[in-house]
Subunit: 444 residues, 2 copies
């Protein structure tokens, strides 16, 4: 992405209030954000009014969906420079959204070099390291002196997206070390790059998942990660700003799944009500259909329910508590999986820990509810409710912890089977347990 | 934090399998991660076995809770160098956890300069920009030439945490521009810093929230943000790696709240079952107490329920669907608030959009369920269930979108009133609506 602003732009320095500043005086990032909040007509209008260099710069900060909409409504002579000015990885992210035909048409509009780089990125899988890397990097060799290295940086640095991480490669273009610009600048002129470089670096493969790369950059506190092809040759760098954006996207996706919806992928107000509804309808439908299980379970126990109507009063409370306990487990486990705290081989260890936690929590709730329910509804119901709380919490933590681990083993995103899904399953199982316990206790 | 590894460490280059590599050969970040998965006794043992320089480096990557535990069990002669080697911001994050007395004792162990810097950071609020900034930066003045600037960087660069962002200040130490090392290196020797610097930068205040700073760094794609005191004087820099960690922490917190639990703040296996249970017990208790509302509502309608037992069958399905629709709205709105897509003045606009979405989704579910329920349970129940689905979805989206916005207006974290909370409220209100509709339809 874009490390630095074009200094020539007519921006006002320092803090600006988003509301009072006219659009052309904002920083491009905030400008893009303000444009995203407008509806399509206003956005086209405001965008058309921007000075050309600022339009170029703001365009890069827009969400790909919004970029796509603008492209669809701008004349080719306007969007050709927009497209050429983008970084190759950002451009690939935009083009991957478009139908094949439009994509090749747009690729034709690019300068030859930009076209080559973008086509290269587009050969890699979506959401892979290859897609988000920049092929515009500068490499050194280990026999160079620091002086020669610095001279090389000065000569060719303008064409690289970053010069803060300088990969050092051998004759086969395989990386042998990473050099930070900092260390090059601070070095004595006659030291060799081989002495200065850090040989302890981690490479990623072009087809590694983008989240893996981003988490590696985050945990190692590096500014860029080298990407190699299947032969181990260096083909690009993933920079820290792209890593941040990836983690942000993944967070958006996880949070959305936790809330039983799909991520909007664009700013809230730029999405139509229809678009918002569409992002939710599938999950809502799936969960509602799954919830018909609860109707089945209740039908099976209709006689029990009819004889003791008091049982009905606790249905929402019991399944609600089960759902919450299950959501808690699922949330903890999904997070721990995301940061590799839990791996598949920990399956039994996790289940065992979670179930103990469930017994503990359910036991506490069961004890606390015993007396009030006894006082209000009699001993039988009190015993039934308390026992159900223990059993339901135990079951909920079991289901809530097992499902995400199984999902991740099946290469699904564990967040898919998180809170809402677990809750719906626990609802049906919880009812079953409730009535089985009730029949047992009442038959005494 | 730590930008680069100590090159002298006995690490093996490139990809290592976490399982098979002996601890001392791992990269410090992975080493810290492996240590976190052990229990306390094993951890102390393994940590004690590490070569000294590697122990120093791995220590910095550990979670503050785990660092604290290690400190509690290590002899002072071991942990004094650990403490001195930390970056001031990481050290502040560790010390803020400790009781006053222990904190001053540890501060005494530091070299004078480190002690001063750490004490300074500790004067700022927790989770503020001041706490996470580094006071070890290098500044330039605008009248310097590029040559002089580079010479200054070479002379004093070793003492700064980062030299990639070089703040340019006036005589009163107020920032007037930001210079990237990249531009300094690529400049002609006689250009002035004033010409090279970027005057369009954004400062943050020491008491600004850490998330605001982190989001700014992310959206502007900068490597560091300048922090100023109340008089506008430069006091430090927040670097991109710290911004990433802040966003990761905030994500952890949001996800946790979405799952009705508190973040563990440490790796899963390093937390005891008791610790895990404690992170969940408060929310589970609060939500269960809130759920007694559903018992109250059902008691009020016990007669209606008794006369048509079929009504009970749909209770879990209806409140489950309402809960899911509410969770969807809450999730979308919490996320949009976090990235400033929604502000308080958008309140009515959001509510209106969400409610329309709710009517649309509820209408669809109501239509789809009409015939099956009619066929299985008769016309009356079919009409009641369908109407309730529309009303509940509409209500759920209303509550789900309004509550996070109100919470954020009251300076609460909107995630606190997200999915689980909304679900519990919608459960009770949904039941009320269900029975009111039932009474109306059945009285016809």
């Amino acid at each position: 992405m874009v490390y630095q602003e074009n200094r020539k732009m007519s921006e006002k320095p320092q803090q600006q209030s988003r509301r009072e500043t006219p659009l052309p005086e904002m920083h491009s990032a905030e400008l893009a954000h303000a444009l995203s909040r407008l509806d399509l007509t206003e956005r086209l209008e405001e965008f058309g009014r921007l000075p050309k260099d600022q339009a170029l710069s703001a365009f890069q900060y827009l969400d790909p969906v919004v970029q796509e909409e603008l492209l669809d409504h701008l004349p080719p002579e306007t969007f050709s420079p927009l497209l050429n000015a983008m970084d190759p990885d950002d451009r690939a992210r935009l083009l991957e959204r478009l139908p094949e035909e439009q994509r090749s048409r747009l690729l034709q509009m690019l300068d030859r070099r930009e076209q080559e780089m973008t086509s290269l990125l587009l050969t890699f899988e979506e959401e892979s390291a290859g897609r988000i890397m920049t092929p515009e990097f500068l490499h050194l060799t280990s026999t160079m002196t620091a002086e020669a290295g610095l001279a090389e940086v000065r000569r060719r640095g303008r064409f690289a997206e970053t010069i803060y991480t300088l990969p050092v490669v051998d004759q086969a273009r395989r990386p042998v070390g990473m050099l930070e610009l900092k260390d090059l600048v601070l070095a004595e002129t006659q030291q060799t790059i081989g002495d200065l470089m850090n040989p302890n670096f981690q490479t990623v493969k072009v087809d590694d998942d983008q989240e893996t790369v981003a988490r590696m950059i985050q945990s190692r506190d590096v500014l860029a990660a080298p990407v190699v092809d299947s032969a181990g040759r260096l083909v690009g760098l993933v920079t820290v700003d792209d890593a941040m954006d990836v983690l942000d996207l993944e967070e958006d996706e996880d949070l959305a799944l936790f809330g039983a919806t799909l991520p909007l992928g664009r700013s809230y107000f730029s999405a139509s009500v229809f678009h918002v509804a569409r992002s939710r309808v599938v999950w809502l439908l799936v969960l509602t259909v799954a919830a018909t299980l609860t109707v089945t379970v209740l039908s099976a126990f209709q006689d029990t329910l009819e004889s003791i109507i008091g049982l009905a009063l606790f249905i929402p409370l019991l399944i609600g508590t089960g759902g919450n306990a299950g959501a808690q487990s699922a949330t903890t486990v999904v997070r721990a999986l995301a940061v590799s705290d839990i791996q598949f081989q920990d399956f039994l260890r996790v289940i065992f820990r979670e179930t103990r936690t469930g017994i503990f929590l359910g036991g506490m709730l069961g004890l606390l509810s015993l007396l009030p329910v006894w006082f209000l509804m009699g001993r039988d119901l009190a015993v039934i409710v308390s026992l159900t709380l223990v059993a339901v919490c135990c079951l909920a933590t079991l289901v809530g912890s097992a499902m995400p681990i199984i999902a991740s083993r099946l290469s699904l995103d564990p967040a898919v089977v998180s809170a809402p899904f677990v809750t719906t399953i626990v609802d049906a199982l919880g009812l079953l347990i409730y009535f089985l316990i009730a029949q047992r206790v009442l038959a005494l």
